[in-house]
Subunit: 109 residues, 2 copies
Amino acid sequence: MKPNDIPPGSLSLLILNTLSRHGEMHGYEIADSILHTSGDVLQVEEGSLYPALQRLLVQGWVSAEWGTTAGNRRARYYRLTAAGRKQLAAELSHFHRIYGAITAVLQPA
Amino acid sequence: MKPNDIPPGSLSLLILNTLSRHGEMHGYEIADSILHTSGDVLQVEEGSLYPALQRLLVQGWVSAEWGTTAGNRRARYYRLTAAGRKQLAAELSHFHRIYGAITAVLQPA
DNA sequence: TTACTGCCATAGACAAACTATGTCAGTAAG
DNA sequence: CTTACTGACATAGTTTGTCTATGGCAGTAA
């Protein structure tokens, strides 16, 4: 069972969708949620996660504020912005379009 | 109808699968076949196609020989090798594993 | 006091697709 | 017959995004 290999371009979609389901999360929670809901297949490395969150912040798809976890650790809590919700919808439809096209090509003879 | 945006990592899979269906093709035919079987969604640029074919050659997944097209042009004909068929099977199962995991994560609340 | 873990963060490596450009040989147009 | 177009192959350079590796800091447990 080796995890890994998130296709470039899909990480922001996974993060946005995860945030839209849970409302407010910090980094570790996001990675953990993706790992578990994917059946331990998609392991987001920290070196991928935080740069991705930075990009989402810069583009305004998410906002962040510092807080404290249940375990009394400092953590940065992210949530979707209104623009982020629109972006999520756009990326979802784009994903389905592309993925549908790929599976069409992959039909065996 | 804007085409484009082949997810990194999936191009070799598309090429291998296309060759496995048609037996022997040159570059233009491969790109054309992918474009049409994807419903004009996946447009493989030449600057992506030929480097990808080079990689497949180097790795031994495909073989190539020069020939002449129906329109009397010189062209390089590619076909799958035995190793290429094994590779295709491996990439197919990997693809389904990863995209299955992604769609699992993308289920709405 | 030491070590471990949760949590954030960055720098550098690397892979792969894109843009732009170039070549060459047939064929069609004028 | 010369020009332009198209089919087909090819490469250099840019960009994007994930990974590896590393590091720091603050609680908590040994």
